[in-house]
């Protein structure tokens, strides 16, 4: 997985690395050069020291030889005539010399002729095995011996010899002073550089550790540094006492001695240390500055990033403002410009989405979502009373059916435009769905404000809607729910307002209704009914009552109207008015209707058979049932199964059927008529009572609503109206049944108008099936 880094650390580290790596590379390159330079320099310096000391040693030997030459000269010239004078002279020389500790004059046989200081043990001794005798005699050249520890003095000593007449002149040189040279050098110059002198065998003549001289130790690496094997300018390095040291050397030619100068490599490192310290200091300082500068640079970048980050957050929260592009970094400005472009696009899209989400495209009014959210917001703000006014266009479907859906759309569009023109100040208006709108009115002080607002709205709707030369006047039913009186949540407010609107609708068009608690109870009751309706059929909670229809002329029974009853286990008897519309809205009317039809038909077949009559049965049919595709087949099948003559079945329909679709109603009517059944138009006079229906539909019976019967004897005009309707029906070849006949006067009046049949409490209330036989017996 890719590791996530912090930009700041990345910049800091890279900045530091870009400084440290070159510095390290320079260090790696320069340090060896300096190191080599220091080595070379040290070697040269130490070789110079060695050469200087070697020169001094050489001078010492030469000076010592000069003494011998001087004696030789005196002897040769005969200046020293006898042994005594020679002895005196040599003793005097010894007294004046620091380094010569003895002289010997050997004769040609190597016998000591004269010894200074005088020593009887040595005088006359045979020196024939001594190289100072043999070599000097053989070569006639000056001789320098190897060093040895003198038995007389206990000090490191050498002998030098020159030929003298036939014999040899020997001097013993005490090297004590030379042996101390290393120590003295340390005392004078410190012990950084130390010096040692060895003889030709590598045995120390001088060393800082004087014991090594007296113990005749050899220079440990003498063989390696030996001039025989030396390469020009070679730097020797050996380990002494655990430390590596560079060894430079020079030769004392006239004595075959070697001078060594030692310097520990520590001193090179010591010399390198300031350089390394400076390098380190520079690195540290550069790192510090780089960090400082990187921080400064990053501060700007970070500021820009922070700003962008902040703006992004704000934009994410919905604040679409452009970002300031005045940044010192061009790249950042470009990024900002692009970002601003993106923000503008997002803003545009967001607004479009908001319109789509919150506005209705047809009416340009806020939609249900908007309504819900804003109403909720208003409730949360709690700024006094709010009224939710629901208004629905009355019979909008019929307008659509009549003039076509595009006309309906246009109506909605125009309505939206008119509502928008109102420039509502308090609250807003929204389209909930279909023809259903809601006006949210805020800051209400008294209910009159609501009524004023309703009037205002009505003024808008009362104007004719004109499209394609069609004029339509819209009517509304209006329901009002109040916050906080009726409800405190959006859903309930909308529900209650709709309930109130529904109530207003039931009361009649262009009515308004404030929500009341009873409506809520009604609502609850309806809910309960709806829930129990589903199981009522299975549980056999329905039963039928039959109300006889009486022939006016002979007062005999023409037939019965089957009326459904519901014995609810908890609520008791429930009126069809309360549950039929629920059954219709839930679709349960189909099975219930089928049950009613079948039960009524069977009952009538049973009675007719028993009584030997041809009595008709009237069954109410809901528009929902009628518009069901399989309805005519179902009717036909029921008739067959029950064995009822089709002409003994009369289906009662209401004018509501035509509201949905008149054309469709005609088709269904014709299909039913083909079966052979009769069709009856129920509740005539309460609805549209359109003469067009009467003229065009194959209706056999017209049932005049009991409202007309109630008012019949009150006014003469009513009697005339009744007479005219009966006359019209007869003209259209229809039988007439008048409902609600409760008094003899009414019956007599109707009889005088040649009404065919009556139905009402005057003759019989709706009766149970068990009473049917008695009824027959009583009324024939």
């Amino acid at each position: 997985m890719k590791r996530i880094k912090k930009l700041r650390d990345f910049i800091l580290i890279n900045n530091m690395l870009s400084i440290v790596i070159p510095l390290i590379l320079v260090g790696l390159l320069v340090t060896p050069l300096i190191y080599n330079y220091l080595i070379k320099d040290m070697h040269e310096k130490n070789t110079m020291i060695a050469t200087t000391i070697a020169q001094r040693m050489s001078d010492f030997i030469d000076e010592s030889f000069q003494v011998l030459y001087q004696i030789n000269h005196l002897l040769d010239d005969g200046m020293l005539k006898d042994d005594v004078s020679i002895q005196i002279y040599l003793d005097a020389l010894l007294d004046s010399s620091d380094s010569v500790e003895g002289f010997e004059i050997l004769d040609t046989n190597g016998i000591v002729k004269i010894s200074a200081p005088q020593n009887v043990n040595i005088l006359g001794a045979n020196r024939t095995s001594q190289p100072f005798f043999t070599e000097t005699k053989a070569t006639r050249q000056p001789f320098v011996s190897s060093s040895f520890i003198s038995q007389q003095t206990g000090n490191p000593t050498i002998t030098i010899a020159i030929p003298q007449a036939d014999g040899v002149l020997v001097a013993y040189l005490n090297l004590e002073e030379i042996s101390m040279l290393s120590l003295n050098h340390i005392k004078t110059f410190g012990n950084t550089v130390t010096v040692a002198i060895t003889d030709g065998n590598g045995v120390f003549i001088s060393n800082k550790d004087i014991i090594k001289v007296y113990q005749r130790e050899m220079e440990a690496n003498y063989q390696s540094i030996h001039p025989e094997f030396e390469i020009e300018d070679q730097v020797h390095a050996f380990t002494y006492e655990g430390k590596t040291a560079m060894v430079s050397h020079a030769d004392v030619d006239n004595a075959n001695w070697h001078v060594f100068v030692y310097e520990s490599y520590d001193s090179i490192f010591a010399a390198l240390r300031p350089f390394l310290a400076i390098m380190l200091l520079c690195t540290g300082l550069l790192l510090f500055f780089s960090r400082f500068i990187a921080r400064l640079v990053f501060k700007d970048i970070n500021h820009s990033f922070g700003e962008l980050n902040q703006q992004t957050k704000e934009i994410a929260a919905g604040d679409y403002h452009p970002i300031n592009t005045d940044n010192r970094f061009d790249e950042f400005n470009r990024l900002t410009e692009n970002f601003n472009g993106m923000v503008a696009c997002v803003k545009e899209r967001d607004e479009a989405l908001q319109i789509l989400a919150y506005y209705d495209s047809q009416t340009r009014l806020p939609n249900a979502v908007y309504l819900s959210e804003h109403l909720n917001q208003l409730i949360l703000n709690d700024r006094g009373k709010i009224a939710v006014i629901c208004f629905d266009i009355h019979n909008f479907k019929r307008i659509n059916d009549t003039y076509g859906p595009s006309f309906g759309d246009k109506i909605l569009e125009m309505m939206g435009a008119r509502l928008l023109e109102l420039n509502l100040s308090q609250g807003f208006v929204a389209r909930i769905n279909g023809s259903n709108f809601a006006r949210v009115l805020t800051e209400i002080e008294n209910p009159d404000d609501v009524l004023l607002e309703i009037e205002k709205l009505r003024a808008v709707f009362n104007q004719a809607m004109t499209f394609n030369e069609n004029n339509v006047y819209l009517r509304f039913h209006v329901g009002i729910a109040l916050y906080p009186d009726d409800a405190r949540v959006v859903e309930e407010l909308l529900q209650y307002a709709n309930t109130a609107a529904e109530m207003a609708k039931q009361r009649g068009v262009s009515q308004y209704a404030f929500f009341e608690n009873s409506m809520k109870q009604n609502l609850l009751r309806n809910m309960t009914l709806e829930n129990s309706l589903r199981s009522a059929l299975e549980n056999g909670e329905f039963f039928l009552h039959y109300q006889p229809q009486i022939d006016v002329n002979n007062k005999k029974i023409r037939g019965f109207e089957a009326l459904i009853r519901w014995d609810h286990p908890q609520l008791g008897m429930v009126s069809p008015l309360d549950f039929i519309h629920i059954a219709e809205s839930t679709g349960l009317i189909i099975p219930i209707g089928a049950w009613v039809l079948e039960t009524a038909c069977r009952q009538m077949v049973c009675i007719n058979k028993k009584m030997g009559t041809q009595i008709m049965i009237s069954v109410n049919v809901s528009p929902v049932q009628l518009s069901h595709e399989q309805f005519p087949e179902m009717v036909e099948e029921t008739l067959k199964q029950c064995g009822l003559e089709p002409n003994l079945l009369e289906l009662e329909i209401t004018e509501n059927l035509f509201i949905n679709s008149f054309e469709e109603a005609i088709k269904i009517f014709n299909r039913l008529k083909r079966i052979g059944i009769r069709m009856s138009l129920d509740d005539f006079g309460t609805g549209y009572s359109s003469l067009a229906y009467l003229k065009n539909l194959p209706i056999d019976t017209l049932k005049i609503d009991q409202a007309f019967t109630r008012d019949l004897l009150i006014k003469k005009a009513n009697e005339n109206l009744m007479e005219s309707i009966i006359l019209m029906a007869h003209t259209l070849q229809m039988d007439v049944i008048v409902e609600g006949v409760e008094e003899l006067e009414q019956f007599d009046c109707l009889k005088s108008y040649h009404c065919d049949h009556v139905q009402g409490y005057y003759f019989s209330r709706p009766i149970d099936q068990s009473e049917l036989e008695d009824c027959f017996k009583k009324m024939g």
Binding site: V120, N121, Y214
Partner: protein
């Protein structure tokens, strides 16, 4: 991940190498070397040190002993028993268990009881006082007892027709050595009817009057003169006898057999008989190789001190390597158990006390050189 593995692959061998190197470079093995490195007997000590260093270099060049390199702490006993004891103590306190030395027999009196008490082990290259032999002590050696030298001297006297009246000059500081040789000679010549008619001791450090002592000797009219002294002192006596025109044969003990004898003695030592602990003309390949190396390194012929110290060191090193031990007791037992060691020139036989016996030689000085006597 791959890179990580590559790093590990690179580092592991380095770490392992470092670890192995660390294991190999163990703490060095330190031994002591004590001899007289200054003063009149320093020739013996210096040559012994040279021989020892040859052995140490050889062993270290071959990887050390059981992976340990050998280090030597060199101490100067100044031919003084008290100093000798002090430096022995210093070595003991420094954790040293093995001492190669001392080189002169007079050092034994204090040093051997000390090493015995501390369970150290002293490998003796050149202390040959007969009294040191056949003792149950912490001393093993590669040198024959002085009594063997006495036998050689007696036989030489018999050959030269002397040995009846013998005069002896002996150094008294190293009486442990000189005394036992002198006694040995007396013991050897007694059965032949010989005796020491004159003896005189001298102290090397006290500027002896060589001439006077020599005159005393000659005055006793001996038929053989035995000088038991260091090479320098012996040479000085020979010079006096030379000056006094002495014709009596002079016999020297092995102590005197040094280059210094020839250098200081010159013509005066010509014809002198000397007991030699080594055969300088030996053709043994090991010796020839050693001699060549020595000559190259020190610019001089190896002396018996160099040869014997080299052999003593090699005997110790080889036994330590064989036993893989650095316990003095174990080493001593192993040396005794092995019994025979091959020296540079001849076999060295070690007895149950850790004392050696080996071939010694009769040499004469001829034309300024040591020559094996015919």
């Amino acid at each position: 991940m791959k890179r990580k593995r590559a790093f590990l692959g690179l580092f592991f061998p380095i770490i392992i190498t470092l670890a192995l190197t660390a294991c190999m470079s163990q703490k060095p093995l330190t031994i002591g070397f004590v001899a007289s490195l200054t003063g009149s007997t320093s020739e013996l000590g210096v040559n012994g040190r040279n021989g020892l260093m040859m052995a140490v270099e050889e062993v270290n060049a071959g990887g050390g002993i059981n992976g340990k390199s050998v280090e030597v702490v060199v101490k100067d006993d100044k031919n003084d028993p008290e100093t000798g004891l002090t430096v022995d103590q210093e070595l003991y306190e420094a954790g040293v268990s093995f001492i190669i030395g001392h080189m002169t027999s007079n050092m034994a009196a204090l040093s051997i009881p000390f090493v015995n008490s501390k369970d150290m082990l002293m490998i003796n290259p050149t202390m040959s006082a007969t009294t040191l032999f056949n003792q149950d002590d912490h001393l093993v050696g590669v040198i024959s007892p002085n009594s063997d030298q006495a036998v050689v001297i007696k036989e030489s006297m018999v050959k030269n027709g002397g040995g009846k009246n013998v005069a002896v000059i002996y150094e008294s500081q190293n009486l442990a050595y000189t005394g036992t040789v002198k006694d040995g000679v007396a013991q050897e010549i007694a059965p032949l009817g010989g005796q020491i008619i004159y003896e005189e001791a001298f102290l090397s450090e006290a500027n002896p009057n060589y001439l006077e002592i020599s005159q005393h000797v000659l005055n006793s009219k001996p038929d053989s003169i035995v000088i038991l002294a260091s090479s320098f002192d012996a040479a000085m006596f020979c010079q006096q006898f030379y000056k006094l025109n002495n014709q009596t044969h002079i016999y020297l003990a092995a102590w005197s057999m040094n280059n210094d004898l020839l250098l200081q003695g010159g013509g005066s030592v010509e014809g002198v008989t000397i007991t030699s602990l080594i055969a300088s003309d030996s053709q043994m390949p090991t010796y020839i190789a050693f001699r060549e190396k020595y000559l190259n390194k020190y610019g001089a012929e190896p002396t018996f001190a160099a040869v014997y110290t080299y052999e003593a060191a090699m005997m110790l090193f080889n036994t330590m390597a064989d036993t893989r031990s650095d316990k003095p007791e174990t080493i001593k037992s192993a040396i005794i158990k092995k019994g025979t060691y091959q020296g540079l020139q001849s076999d060295i036989i070690i007895n149950e006390y850790g004392d050696a016996s080996r071939t010694i030689y009769e040499y004469v000085v001829k034309n300024g050189q040591f020559k094996k006597a015919e």
